[in-house]
Subunit: 341 residues, 4 copies
């Protein structure tokens, strides 16, 4: 029996999670929702996803465009075992009473606060703790990317302190309203940024200070991560460690990739759907140990993609008996995950 999944919010994240869920052997999409007609509705139709809308008054907009509407969001919820709420930040909180009323499980995204669910998820850290919960939050793309490398180094070597600077893309590739056009924006202008505490929502014992800015690019955030280690380590040890983690992709020197743009191009070339990079893109050449115990690295985090696989695992963690390692393996196999070079 498959897990019936509804996607509330068929946008940047929602459409990706829908496709990732649809190819899992133990899951099926019972519906996706949209608020207004646009090109994404044609995509949902082509994929065979039943389309639901919040406001039936908009039904004619869809139907005159040749896209049938299956019902309202409430109708969709009623058919689901679990909802992936991929609505814009803040909307998810407003949806909570609806999920409670229907007794349906829901997964929130990083745009919602930790307090909305009381539990923040990463498949490598706390998969087992999601079991039995009605509400789980998959942390944001940046937090997911930080958690993966920090947890891995912390478990194997021990992390005394993390300092990270996140250079974030201004808008998603299809977003034509957001800027900046020619500016580096401090966001926030205060230090430290909120990213450190968000990492602590998953890894409470980690001492971490972060800063963040926004630049005029559309694809991938770039992190400079520095970790003061509890004991000396070599870069080779760290590389070996990362090589063993399926969601940390090591970009090797021979590939000649040293930018977000070239990395996206490579994702396109290897046939990834929507050029998606589900793994952290860690630049192998950048991994460096300074003064014996100070690890430095650059990593690229695909803002639209790294949380997609975490959502799939969160579904299993909440609504099945599949153990963590097996879920991660299943998720990746279904997606045809092939290691980045």
């Amino acid at each position: 029996m498959t897990i019936k999944v509804a996607i509330n919010g068929y946008g940047t994240i929602g459409k990706r999670v829908a496709d990732a869920v649809a190819c899992q052997p133990d899951m099926e999409i019972v519906g996706v929702s949209k608020t207004s007609m646009n090109a994404d509705a044609y995509v949902a139709k082509a994929r065979g996803y039943p389309l639901y809308i919040a406001d039936l008054a908009k039904r004619p907009d869809f139907e005159t465009a040749g896209v049938p509407i299956a019902g309202t969001v409430v109708d969709m919820i009623a058919k689901a075992d679990i909802v992936v709420d991929a609505t814009p930040g803040g909307v998810g909180l407003k949806n909570k009473p609806m999920y409670e009323e229907h007794g349906v499980r829901a997964i929130y995204q990083g745009g919602e606060k930790h307090a909305t669910t009381g539990f923040s998820f990463n498949s490598s850290v706390n998969y087992d703790e999601a079991k039995g919960r009605q509400f789980v939050r998959v942390v944001s793309c940046n937090t997911t990317g930080l958690v993966r490398v920090i947890n891995e180094v912390d478990r194997a070597i021990g992390v005394e302190k993390v300092r990270a600077v996140m250079v974030r893309r201004g808008g998603d590739p299809g977003d034509i309203k957001r800027g900046p056009i020619d500016a580096i924006v401090l966001d926030p202008v205060t230090l430290p940024s909120h990213h450190g505490p968000d990492v602590q929502s998953v890894l409470p014992h980690i001492n971490i200070t972060t800063g963040a800015m926004i630049v005029p690019t559309t694809f991938m955030h770039m992190h400079t991560v520095q970790m003061s280690l509890k004991r000396p380590a070599t870069r080779e040890q760290v590389i070996e460690l990362f090589r063993g983690h399926s969601r940390i992709g090591l970009i090797n020197r021979a590939a000649g990739i040293k930018s977000s743009a070239e990395l996206k191009e490579h994702m396109q070339d290897i046939g990834r759907p929507r050029s998606d990079m589900w793994e952290n893109g860690v630049f192998e050449e950048s991994i460096s140990v300074v003064d014996g115990t100070e690890l430095w690295l650059f990593q690229a985090i695909h803002q639209e993609a790294d949380v997609v696989v975490e959502n799939v695992d969160a579904i299993r963690a909440m609504a099945s008996d599949v153990p963590a390692a097996e879920s991660i393996r299943m998720t990746e196999q279904a997606l045809g995950f092939v290691a980045v070079k």
Copy 2:
């Protein structure tokens, strides 16, 4: 018996043509060539394309990275019925004696001058004239895009004069060296630009004046095309006309797409390889007839993609007996061409 195709220059255009050729029922890739090791070599290997290099001194760079080298470019040429020369502009001319020496047919791209081949190709216009030629030039992305719409309107209605303004992307998505960052660059600063005469290399009887500029974007050129018609027409007639041409994609109002970025996003979403748009992206809402005989429209031209299908047809035009309409159909069927909404 399949047509044996070599791709000389496995870059932006070459890698796309290679994949498009590889899926045609009557063609096969006998090799692709590169000058230095980078991520594209891994892609060629993964695709199973034998990889040749110009300079064997660079063989160790590839082989230590795990990419076997099949031989030199000359070795590759010797195995081919036809070469698609996708080397950077100007290099193709230098390769001509090599092709002549080996008596192999070659297809050049728009970066080479018309004089290099004496014949400039577009599948909708002069497919039959390519037959028997050793050298054929597929015109540039911009010229291909202009030729498609002008020829269609000219044949059905008659075109007195064309005026077009091309707003071009500054660099390809994976190109991190080229600018501008924050400028509109007149390129050339003189008017008219060379694009008009290039259209005339395929459609010599068309009176056309063009201007061109470059802006800080990476995906798709945007054309404003104005055609003074020989007789009155309505926008509905023009829409009907374009709907009948498989390489003119009409973007309808309900899709809500009004930019190059949203169009790229849609190409990703419908699963096009590398987000490629092989057709002209004509914005249906923009099509307008002013003063009875003055047609205006906006179209987006994917600089990396629209010539790919023309190269495949040029191969058949030169090296088979397949007629034009059948070649166009075969090319598109093999690629799984599905109409843009």
Copy 3:
């Protein structure tokens, strides 16, 4: 006796008009207004402009930052002979009753509709008609730039039809919210755009069709202008014509400038305040006559600056007896207008 001018809205346009007015021998600034505290308030204070605010509840924000507040916007209006309304588009209409109540003249910007004033102004076209009016609208930067060249050619040679494509900057240099980041946006996606009718608000007899798009740059719009002439002309004639108009700047070949960015750099280098280019930047090399009667040219229009001098002239046209030619001369002399090379 000087004309007392108030600037309602001390932003991108307002701060420029304030400085231009302040240096005129026959005008003085009685006040400028802002809605909330930011760096511009420090600038107003340093310039010695009394600062007024709409909402006195915000007074502490300014005063704790060391910026004194002179009163409310209504207080400011009461001291003025004429108000330059440089508030955001649409707000000006709401301010009209306030100006009517105080019987004060007001100049609106191009963000307001023609209907708000019933009269749209350009100093080269209809200066004399502004006399005695309570409300005048200075047309937008793009319309001002089009009107200058069209009117000049029309008066000397005769214009049958104008076709113009405007490539517009996405946001002003200091605006960090607006995009796009990597897109060419059709704005509007329909053709023709509203710019043609706006030109007709000043030059009603001109037949003009326009299209417009937005690109990720911050400085200057770039126009491709084509004019079908009523009788043959040479490019030399047109160049001579433009050379005689003080607000059409000809950028000569030796300067090597072929982009908006280089033009801005040159404005900085010659010491223009805020790098402002008050003139049309017509690229001399681009001026071309095709087929005897078809004039083509590229011009750069500084979105923040070209209307500034028109506002100053509009003040004189409405509130003095100075004739047009003398006003234009005075405006430019006070600003230290030096011809662009």
Copy 4:
């Protein structure tokens, strides 16, 4: 008697140093040099700087454009007490024999290696050591900006370790060739970057690790600087410290500036020539002390400007008896340095 200064290379840095030198009471410009005709030549002429060229064969290009040529670069050198070499990186080294032959002092920019001069200069650190030297190197814009804040904190509080991440602009505002357009480029992809050792060329005892990337902006680099302090300090102490340094500009909260673009806009508004910010732009709100001894801050460094004032001081340090504090005061007074809010 004034110090006679020649500017070899009248480009981005050279033209700024020329203007800064020209307004000093104890200096004069004896000439500036260019390699080919463009708009900058008109600027030099308008400023009254004698113009020299490397290759007299190009004299007609200038003279037909109305710009007289005073002679060759060697002629210029012969008239100078000191040369500011602002040629592109690497060219300066080739010029060294020429300076040696003429026994003229020369100041190099940060594009040259430390080894070219054996002495790297910052006015706050080692002004007195420049005396008597023939060759001095003013360190790069980024290094200058880092040195100012590190040295100030180190002298007053003590710095154990510095970790800095530099997000650099891709090209200068007038540079239309350089990218990237839509990418974050790791430059270099290895960690640490060369910026740390370059800081040590001025402050050899500082332990510093740095990383650097390039983004698609044109104005100002943005630094995230973390300093582990030798003893506890408060943010108020640090703010007080910076307030006392005339080349560290504190951007206060009330100005509402949180990006490079808004900072540039403010420099324009306060009338700085070429929008230049000669000081470090330290965001007061960002200054933070974490865990008692870990100082964090954001600072913006104007790549075209912060070294300009250092060049002026280096001239005095090498060719006069004026002491450091007096030179700094003279430089700033002549430029009309007014504190940033």
